[in-house]
C-alpha cells in the first residue's frame, strides 16, 4: 500500500476545461518522485490538489489517497475542510517557490515554526521551544533566526525556515513545489542538499515539482513528465535522460542538454 495513491485525478475549471486530466501515480513511504513540466502543464495544481488546496472554482475528481504507516487511509478528493486540516502538516505538507508568501510577514520565524509544531504535535511550553530550536538546527539555521521577521533574513534563509516549519510537523510526505527556483545557484545547491538529507533522515516521502530536469535529477530517483495536464512519461531519471520516449520529454531533454553542453564546451 503506497503512502500516496493518485488515481485518475482530473482538475477542471468551472467551465469544465480540464487543467489536469486522468493523472495516476503512486508514491511509496520514503520514496521520491520528481514531477516535471513546463508552466501550464498542471504540475503545481497536482501538488495543491494533494493538499486539498485547489484555488476557488477548480474542481478535482478521481481519487487521491493518503495512507501513512500506522494511520488510517484518507481520501483527499471531496473531503471536508475539517478532515483536510487534520491531514495537512501531520500527513502531508508543502514548501513553495516563494518562501516569503509561505511565511507570515508579521510573525517572528520562531513563532511560526512553533505554531506549526503546536498545531500538529500538541507540544507546549519548554517542549515546544525546544522543538522549535531543534527544527531550526535541523535546517542549519542559527537559533537567533527564531527572533527575526521573514523580511530580515535572506531568501535562502527564508526558504530554510519554511522547510523547518514544514518538516517540524513530522509529515510522512513533503511536497516541494519549485522550492529553489527563486534562489541563487549556490543557495539552490545548499537547499537541495538539505532536502536530500532531511528526507533521508526522516524517511519522508518527497514529491518534488520543477521545470528543471537537472535540478530534479539531483534529488529524485523517479520522474513523472507532465504536459498539458496529462502524464506523458514516467520512469527513473536515468532511463528518462537516456531514452526519452515522448516528444515532449525529448524536447525538454534536448533543451536541458543544450544548456548543459554550453557549460561543457567552455571547459578545457
Amino acid at each position: 500500500m503506497s503512502l500516496l495513491t493518485v488515481d485518475r485525478l482530473t482538475v477542471a475549471t468551472p467551465g469544465g476545461r480540464p487543467l489536469v486530466s486522468d493523472l495516476s501515480f503512486e508514491l511509496p513511504a520514503g520514496g521520491r518522485l520528481g514531477v516535471i513540466g513546463e508552466s501550464g502543464s498542471g504540475k503545481s495544481l497536482t501538488a495543491l490538489a494533494v493538499l486539498g488546496l485547489l484555488p476557488d472554482g477548480l474542481r478535482a475528481s478521481g481519487s487521491i489517497r493518503l495512507h501513512p504507516s500506522g494511520g488510517a487511509p484518507a481520501q483527499v478528493v471531496g473531503a471536508p475542510e475539517r478532515e483536510l486540516r487534520r491531514l495537512r502538516g501531520r500527513v502531508a505538507t508543502a514548501v513553495f517557490q516563494e518562501p516569503s508568501t509561505a511565511l507570515d510577514p508579521l510573525m517572528r520565524i520562531g513563532n511560526q515554526i512553533g505554531a506549526a509544531v503546536r498545531r500538529t504535535r500538541g507540544l507546549r511550553g519548554t517542549a515546544l521551544r525546544a522543538a522549535t530550536l531543534s527544527a531550526l538546527a535541523d535546517v542549519g539555521l542559527d537559533r537567533r533566526i527564531a527572533r527575526a521577521y521573514p523580511h530580515e533574513v535572506s531568501g535562502g534563509q527564508r526558504q530554510r525556515a519554511a522547510i523547518a516549519a514544514a518538516v517540524a510537523c513530522r509529515p510522512a510526505l513533503l511536497i516541494a513545489d519549485e522550492p529553489t527556483t527563486a534562489l541563487d545557484v549556490t543557495v539552490q545547491a545548499e537547499v537541495l542538499a538539505l532536502l536530500d538529507r532531511l528526507v533521508a533522515d526522516r524517511g519522508m516521502a518527497l514529491l518534488f515539482i520543477s521545470h528543471d530536469l537537472a535540478v530534479v535529477s539531483r534529488i529524485a530517483e523517479r520522474v513523472l513528465v507532465l504536459a498539458q495536464g496529462s502524464a506523458v512519461e514516467s520512469g527513473t531519471v536515468a532511463d528518462v535522460v537516456t531514452a526519452p520516449r515522448h516528444p515532449v520529454t525529448r524536447a525538454l531533454l534536448e533543451s536541458a542538454r543544450q544548456l548543459d553542453a554550453a557549460l561543457e564546451v567552455s571547459r578545457p
Binding site: 541563487d184 545557484v185 530536469l213 524536447a251 557549460l263 567552455s266 571547459r267
Partner: protein, 261 residues
C-alpha cells in the same frame, strides 16, 4: 570600445555600497555576461551602463566619450544605440498598448521613421507573425512577450543590447529558443549583447566575455571559455560547482534497468 565602465562606484545615500571600483569594457561584437548572485550589484551596474542611474564615482564612456546624462544630443545618440530587455515579461510591456505601439515606441521617442513596415520587420525578425501587431500583451505567453520586448529593443537598429536576466523567467525549452533568437540577432544584426545573468549556461551560450561580480566587486573577468572553463578564483569555482547538471545517459548498449519499485 563601444561602452566602457571605468572604476564605477555606487552607494545609496546613507546606504551600503553596491558597487566598488568596477571596470568593464564592451567592444563591438564581443558580448559580455555579468554573472554573480543576487546582491552582487549586477543589475545596478547594468542600470548605470544604460544611463538610468548616475554612478557615485567613476564614469561611463560611450564611443570613448563620457556619457553625460544631461547632454540631450549625446543621450539621443546613445539611446538609439543601446536598448534593453528585462527579466519579467509581464512587467515590461504596457498592458494597455497594442503590440504595434509598444514595438514602435523607440522610433517615436527618438523621432525616427515609425512606419508600420519597420515594426513588421522587427516582429518578423523575432519570429512573430505580423498580425500580432494589433493585439494586446496579455494575449501572449511569457516567451512570446519576451520576443515582443526584443522586437522593441531592435526596432531602432541599436548596436548594443543591455539585457537584465532576459531568459530567467522562461521555461527551459522557451529559454533555449529565446537564447537562439538572441544568438541569431547577434549574427544578423551585428548586435553586441551585454547581459546580466545568474545562469552560467546562458552566459556561455551568448557572450564571449564574462565578468564575475560578488558583493559589488569584480572577482574575475575575461574570455568566457577561460573564466568558466578554468576559473582561477574560488568564488567562480563554487558558482560553477553549484550548477545542477544533467546525469549522463547510460552508456550506449547498456541494458536499461527495469522500472522497479
Amino acid at each position: 570600445m563601444i561602452l566602457e565602465a571605468r572604476e564605477i562606484g555606487f552607494a545609496y545615500p546613507r546606504g551600503r555600497t553596491v558597487l566598488d571600483g568596477v571596470s568593464v569594457g564592451v567592444t563591438a561584437g564581443r558580448g559580455v555576461a555579468l554573472v554573480g548572485e543576487s546582491g552582487a550589484g549586477k543589475t545596478t551596474l547594468l542600470r548605470i551602463l544604460l544611463g538610468l542611474l548616475r554612478p557615485t564615482s567613476g564614469e561611463v564612456r560611450f564611443d570613448g566619450e563620457p556619457l553625460r546624462l544631461g547632454d540631450r544630443a549625446l543621450m539621443r545618440r546613445f539611446r538609439r544605440d543601446a536598448q534593453t530587455v528585462f527579466q519579467d515579461p509581464y512587467s515590461s510591456l504596457d498592458p494597455r498598448q497594442r503590440v504595434a505601439r509598444i514595438v514602435s515606441e523607440p522610433l517615436r521617442s527618438l523621432g525616427l521613421d515609425a512606419a508600420p513596415e519597420r515594426v513588421a520587420e522587427a516582429l518578423r525578425e523575432v519570429g512573430l507573425p505580423e498580425d500580432v501587431a494589433g493585439r494586446y500583451p496579455h494575449e501572449f505567453s511569457g516567451g512570446q512577450r519576451q520576443r515582443i520586448a526584443i522586437a522593441r529593443a531592435i526596432v531602432c537598429r541599436p548596436r548594443l543590447l543591455l539585457a537584465d536576466e532576459p531568459v530567467s523567467a522562461l521555461d527551459v525549452t522557451t529559454r533555449v529558443r529565446v537564447v537562439d533568437l538572441l544568438a541569431e540577432l547577434r549574427e544578423t544584426r551585428g548586435l553586441t549583447v551585454v547581459m546580466v545573468t545568474h545562469d552560467l549556461a546562458v552566459a556561455a551560450l551568448l557572450c564571449q566575455e564574462t565578468v564575475v561580480l560578488s558583493a559589488g566587486r569584480v572577482v574575475e573577468q575575461g574570455d568566457t571559455a577561460g573564466v568558466l572553463g578554468s576559473p582561477t578564483q574560488p568564488y567562480t569555482r563554487r558558482l560553477l560547482a553549484s550548477v545542477p547538471r544533467l546525469p549522463a545517459p547510460h552508456p550506449a548498449g547498456a541494458p536499461v534497468e527495469p522500472n522497479s519499485e
